[in-house]
C-alpha cells in the first residue's frame, strides 16, 4: 500500500567546515528546502545522532533522516566510517547517503561506491556553482526522490 513515511529530520548535513555548512543551509532555506534540516559537525556526532546514543540518546533511531549529505574529511570519525556504519545497521541501511566533499580522488570515489553511497558529489570551488549544486541536490533528494521508510 501507498504510505508516506514520516521523517522528522529531512536532511542530516554532516559538515565540519562552518562556512560550507552555513552556505548549504542558507541556500536550501532560500529555496524552501531546509525545513527540518539538521547539522552535525563531525562523524562521531553523526553516529550518535543516527543511532540515538550519547547526546542523542532520547531520539528514536528508527526515525531516520530523509537523506544524508556527508563530507568525507571529518574530525574524530571519518566520512567513510560513518558510511560503513550506516550501511551495516538495519535501521539506517536504506537511507540515501550523498557524499558531498572537496575530494576528487579516485580512491575516495571508489571506496564510497563500494560502501554503498547513493551518489558522490564534488563540491564546486566556485561560489555560484556551489549554490547551484546545493539547490539541485536539495531538489533532487528532498523533492524528486522518494525516500525509503
Amino acid at each position: 500500500m501507498e504510505r508516506r513515511p514520516v521523517h522528522h529530520v529531512s536532511l542530516l548535513l554532516v559538515e565540519d567546515n562552518p562556512s560550507d555548512a552555513e552556505l548549504t543551509l542558507r541556500v536550501l532555506g532560500k529555496h524552501r528546502l531546509a525545513d527540518r534540516a539538521y547539522l552535525v559537525r563531525d562523524g562521531a556526532e553523526a553516529l550518535e545522532f543516527l543511532f540515538a546514543t550519547g547526546r542523542y540518546a532520547s531520539r528514536d533511531a528508527r526515525d531516520t533522516p530523509r537523506v544524508i549529505f556527508l563530507d568525507l574529511k571529518l574530525p574524530k570519525v571519518g566520512g567513510l566510517e560513518v558510511l560503513r556504519a550506516v550501511r551495516s545497521d538495519p535501521r539506517t541501511r536504506m537511507v540515501p547517503v550523498i557524499v558531498l566533499t572537496s575530494s576528487r580522488e579516485a580512491q575516495d570515489i571508489a571506496d564510497s561506491y563500494r560502501l554503498g553511497v547513493n551518489s558522490y558529489v564534488v563540491k564546486p570551488v566556485d561560489f555560484g556553482a556551489f549554490e547551484r549544486t546545493v539547490v539541485d541536490l536539495g531538489r533532487y533528494w528532498l523533492r524528486l526522490n522518494e525516500p525509503p521508510d
Binding site: M1, E2, R3, R4, P5, V6, H8, R32, D35, R36, D60
Partner: protein, 757 residues
Amino acid sequence: MDAPLRILILEDVPTDFELIRYELRKARLEFEAIRVDTRAGFIEALQRFRPDLIISDYTLPSFDGLEALRLTRAMAPGVPFIIATGSINEETAVGVMKAGAADYVIKNNLVRIGPAARGALERSRVERAKEEAEAALRKSEANLQAIFNNSLQGFILADRDGSVLAFNRTASRWATIVAGRELDEGLGLFGLLAPDDGAFLRNRFGCALAGESITFEREVRCRDGAGRWFEFSCVPVRGGDGAPTGVAVSILDIDERKRAAEALRQSELRFRSLVQNSSDIITVLDLDGTIRYASASTERILGYPPTALVGTNVLGYLHPDDAAVLLPAVTRPPETLPEEGRLEFRFRHADGRWIDLEAVGSNRVADPIIRGIIVNARDVTERKQAERQLRESEERYRDLFENASDLIQQVAPDGRILYVNPAWRAALGYDDEEIARLSVLDVVHPASRAHAETVLRRALAGEALEQVELMLVTKGGRTITVEGNLSGTFKEGRPVATRGIFRDITERKRAEQELRAFAAKLERSNRELEDFASVAAHDLQEPLRKIQAFGDRLRASAPQLDAQAQDYLRRMQEAARRMQALITDLLSFARVTTRGDRLARVELDDVVREALADLEFLVEQCGGRVELGPLPAIEADPVQMRQLFQNLISNALKFHRPGEPPVVRIDSERLPPAEGSEVERCRIRVRDNGIGFDPKYVGRIFNIFQRLHGRGDYRGTGVGLAICRKIAQAHGGDITASSAPGEGATFVVTLPVRQER
C-alpha cells in the same frame, strides 16, 4: 580301709612267705597276699593283682629285688616296696633305699615287717594325697591364670606406688584404648591417664591402700579425645603382716551400658515431657467412669489439674447429650466392650465452656496391671467450630445452588455424579434417577471428552481451573456449550470430588461464531478493497496522467487554437486533475482501516508543528496564523496523527472569511476514562474564525465526498474530514464539530492516551 590290702610277695621260699603273712596278720593288717618268684610272674601280678604293697626278697634264683624295685617304680609308681632279706649290709641298704624302697626288713627280725608295712603304706598314702593336692593346685592355678587372662574384666596388680606388678590381657587392651600403649611391668599406672583422671585414680588408690575396698564408675578421657565409661574396683592386697602392700585394680568397660542407659534416660525424659506437654489428654478410667489417672495436660486443656479429676466420675463433666450416648458404653459388661473405640464428646471446662474432645478409648480391662480403659483425648474445639461453620455455610450455599441459574455439579473422582442443581437438571434434561446412574463423561460431547478428562484430572490434582469450556449433550441430543470454573474438594489431602460451576454459553458462542465469520468476511472484503484501491492508484492514474501531459503538449504545440478550444482543453485537464485528486484522497481514505501497525508514543506538539511546517506555504498564502497551546503525548500511529492534524488545520485555514485572515487556535485538556474503560483520554480542539457551517450539516460533514460548498468557492474533494473521523475512530476516539454560519467552526477530537490491545 574298706577293701583288704593286696600284698604281692616276691619270695622263692614258701615258708618265708608264710612267716611274712603270719607276721603281717599279727600286726593286724587285713590283707590278701600272693606269692610270685619269677620275673614274669612279678610283672603279671603288677598288672593283674595291682598290689597296694610289695614285699620282696633281695636275692632270688632267677630274679633279684633291685630289678623288681626298678620294674615297680616304672610300672606302678607309688606302690610302696619293702625289701625283706636274710642279710644286708649297710651299703646295700642305703642303695636299696636310694633306689626307692620304702623300707627294708631283715628276715631274722620279721617281727618288724608289720610296722614297716604300716609305715610304708602310711607314707605312700600321705605321699599320694600330697601329689593329688599338688595336682589339684596346679590345675586350679592354671584355671585362675586362664580366667585372669581371659576375663573381660581387666586386672592390674600394682604396688604401693602404683607401679604395675601384674596385669591381664584385658587390662593391657584397656591401656591401649585409654593411653595408646600396652601395659608393662613397672609401668606407672596413674601416668597412663589424662591428668585429672590420673589424679582421681590415685586418690581412690590411696583409699584402697588405707584398707578400703572401693568401686567407682568414671568416664575416662581416652587418647583419641573421646570419653569412655569404665567401672574401677580398687581392693587392697595385704602382705604377711596384714598391712596392704599394693592394690588390685579391676577395670570393666561399661561404656555401652552407660550410653544405652543415658539414651534411655533421655528418651524417657522426652517421652515424659511429651506426655506432659502433649495436647493429648491421657486418662485411665475405671469401668464405671471413675478417673483413676489424668495427665498433666488436663489442666491446660480442661482447666482442672489432674489431682482434681482423679477420683471423680467422668460422666459428671460431659455434655448431657453426649453423656447419654456414652452411658451405655460405661454400663455394658466389660467383655462386650470393643478393644478400641473412637468417641467425640463435649467436656465442660473448669470455666464452664464446652470443649470438644475427640477420644480413642482402649479397653484394657483384661490387663491385670491396668484393669481399666485408657482414653486418649484431643481438643478439637476449633476444628468442630470450623466444621459447624462449614456446615452452615454449605447449607447456605446449597440454598444458593438450588436457586442458581448456573449449572452446578459435584462429581466423584471416578466420574459418578454426586450432586447437580436444578439448573443443571433442567439444562441437560435428566431426572435424579437417571443422573444417579450417569458418569459425568456420559453428558460430555465426544469432541470435548479428552479435554473434559484432562480438566477433571487437573482439578483432582489440586488445580483451580477457570474458563473451562466444554460441550455437553442433553438427554434430547442437543449440544450445548458451557463455560465455568472447576476445582477439587479434598478431605485429609485426598481428592473426594470435583466441583464445577458452569454457565450455558451456547447462545453466546453462536453469536461469537457468527461475529467471527462476519469479521473474517469483513476483513476479506477490506483486503479486496485495499487491493482494488492499490490497483486503482496505479492503473486509474496512468490514463489521467496522459490526458494531462498530452493536453499540455496540445496547448503548447497548437497556439492557433481559438479561445473556446483553449477553454475546452483547460476544462478537460482540470477534470483530469480533479479525478486524480479524488483517487489520491480515496486511496488515503481506504488506507485508514486500522490504527496502523506503528503504535508509538507521539508528542502531539511535535506532530502539529510538523504538520504546520508542511502547511507553511498555505498559511503564508492566506496570511493566516495558528496559535498552539500545549498538547499531550499519546500512544498512536504517528503517520495518521500527522495526517489528522494536517487535514484539520488545512480545513480551518481553507474556509476563512473572504478578506479576513484566518486564525486557528489549537488547545487540549485531559478527560477521565470513558465508561467501561480505564484509559484516560484527551480532548483537542481546533477552532477557527472562518465561515463556519450550518449545524444541520454536522451529521454530514464527516461523510466521504461530502462537500458543503461549490467547487468554485473552495477546492477539495470532501475526503479530508472523513479521513479525520476514520483515524480518530481507528484509535478508539471520535471527532465532532460545532458551528453556526459566520461564527467559525470548532472541531473536537477525543483520543485515548493509551491504546488497548
